[in-house]
Symmetry: none
Subunit: 193 residues, 4 copies
DNA sequence: CATGAATGAGACTTCATTCAT
DNA sequence: AATGAATGAAGTCTCATTCAT
């Protein structure tokens, strides 16, 4: 990812893949948007799939880093959960294209789908650990930490995605208080959070 | 939807679209799986997109009916939420292919994506009403019923989808207790539910 | 051409063939316009080509009859030529669809093209005889009566066709005086006619 | 029109379009005749229609140039008309395929037909000007120069086309004297020309 | 490193024709 | 006589990938 061209291609690819989806995206459009010749993409990436997987790995890893980097030892488990929700919304705001790609291209049986789920599972495991710790500390009381982790990821990302498409100008971070309250206290919420 | 062939095509299309996604699915494969000639599909449906939209409308409407049909006046708002979670998991078990199609093909800017989101918004609005009623009755305490509705839908469907791909033999209904508890009480849950 | 249905199909076919051309015309559209089922066309005509040839034969024969029927023994050769031009323009006005079909579908190497040219040659031969008689009577002085006949047909029909497309509301008969003068006297024309 | 492949495709297209007509011509046959892959045609031309329109524009423009290039200031109007007839027959001899395409594919309501008529109108306007000048100089006496121009074009091209199909080996230039005499003097012709 | 012309497999779609009713 | 559902061959066009320069 050193070369200037590589970066140009990377950015163009994120753009095009998120707008069109993997199948509908064309190497021609990516090349045009990156202002390089089509052959140049193939000099840097083995194939369309290769480019896509590379991009998705970078993106998911970045999501994981961004979200986890704000968690510190001093935080309570509840604070950690609030921070996870906030950081994920912040990431979706900054990299809204990744947000779309992530939820579009995860569910399927091709190699890239599996690769992608592997990355996502890795990310969700990190959330699971935070939840599991909260359970150990008897702050949380969920039976199944893994289900809770996927639930949290699903809740946050689908809500964000819906709002992105319903109103492209939406401020996702404004959703944070509601989503945090729901995550911690559910529909009964109230005083607890 | 009357004709025998139409039903054959419908079933085959659900199969192929869910396995391959809209773009990767081919009319050839649908025709083969339905045991009809390719031209026959075009006799009944205007285009690949038309077939897909028809299928998605039927599916989403069925989801809405299945989920709403079990809600009765006598239920408390909490019971209604539990039933929504249960019924949605039951639907995803019975029509797992629709579940995959729904989450794959909703996010995009083409006509079928918008059409599809329109259907989904309709379904989520139904959930929102149940939540809003609970808020009126001071059983629930969420600020934003719409966010809560999308959160519930995202939580349930992403969790279900993950488990379907992680373990095709999974019993989705076994997830119900955890998801219901999380929906109502969040991570703090415990005694409340 | 007895049956009611046959006539319905005939009229619809003229319509569609003239608007779309032979290749672009579809049996579906003809059937719809004739308000009969597609199979019904095949009950009355062997094939699309058969229908077309039948229609073209009827049309060309009608053109020939209409044009020749006004020629009488008493007319001078010049009057006959004027009448031919007038009658052809009148025919093109009344059956403008045939006019288009005739000039679109004559030039090619398929069976229907040859069949069609055979009909047209027959018609032009009739004009040739009128010209040849005028030459015998030393009223006309062209060397090659056949060339003169094709020239007359080409002059009248291309001019008519151009005006039909340039202005669909054109009154073709208004072109008669000019075309008659040109036919008889050429560009030098003047007093002779 | 620079690239070698482009020229190969161009020639093959003229061949196939003139033999089959626009609708019946296939990109497969054009590709085969040009000895290029089908995709190569689409690399150079946007569509079948695009290729056809390009070809027709080149052809009609060439016809116009060829015919007009022989007209000089010193010629009398009559000589100019004779030259127009001769040059058009010479063009039809050299590019007989264009001649066929021109008269087959001009009359219709699709984009390419209209584009084509626009080109043809441009050409015929050139003839009209020659005629109009002759009228100004009181050499010609036609009332309507435009009708005369279309008449001349129709006379020459339909006669040529008929002879090309009736006898592929015909020498079109042998028709020149007759057609010139008819153009200038009509059927009465004789001494005038 | 970079290019972009060329490729060909494969997709969607159309439509004349058939045939059981 | 008439119907219209069903067919499948055939056509246009797309696009990931290659390769000679």
């Amino acid at each position: 990812m050193a070369s200037v061209k590589t970066r140009l291609i990377f950015r163009a690819a994120v753009d095009v893949f998120s707008e069109r989806g993997f199948e509908k995206a064309t190497m021609d459009e990516i090349a045009a948007k990156a202002s390089v010749a089509k052959g140049t993409i193939y000099y840097h990436f083995k194939s369309k799939e290769d480019l896509f997987v590379f991009l998705v790995e970078e993106g998911t890893e970045l999501l994981r880093e961004k979200v986890l980097s704000h968690l510190t030892e001093e935080m309570s488990s509840s604070e950690k959960i609030r921070e996870i929700v906030r950081a994920q919304l912040a990431f979706f705001t900054e990299y809204r294209d990744f947000c779309i790609i992530i939820l579009r291209e995860t569910w399927g049986d091709e190699a890239r789908h599996r690769e992608f789920r592997r990355m996502l599972v890795h990310y969700v495991q990190s959330i699971r650990q935070v939840i599991a710790q909260g359970v150990d500390e008897q702050i949380f009381s969920v039976e199944n930490a893994e289900v809770a982790a996927w639930s949290l990821f699903g809740s946050t990302s689908i809500t964000a995605l819906h709002h992105l498409f319903a109103d492209p100008a939406v401020d996702l971070l404004a959703l944070a208080p509601s989503l945090q309250a729901i995550a911690l206290g559910g529909l009964h919420a109230k005083e607890i959070t």
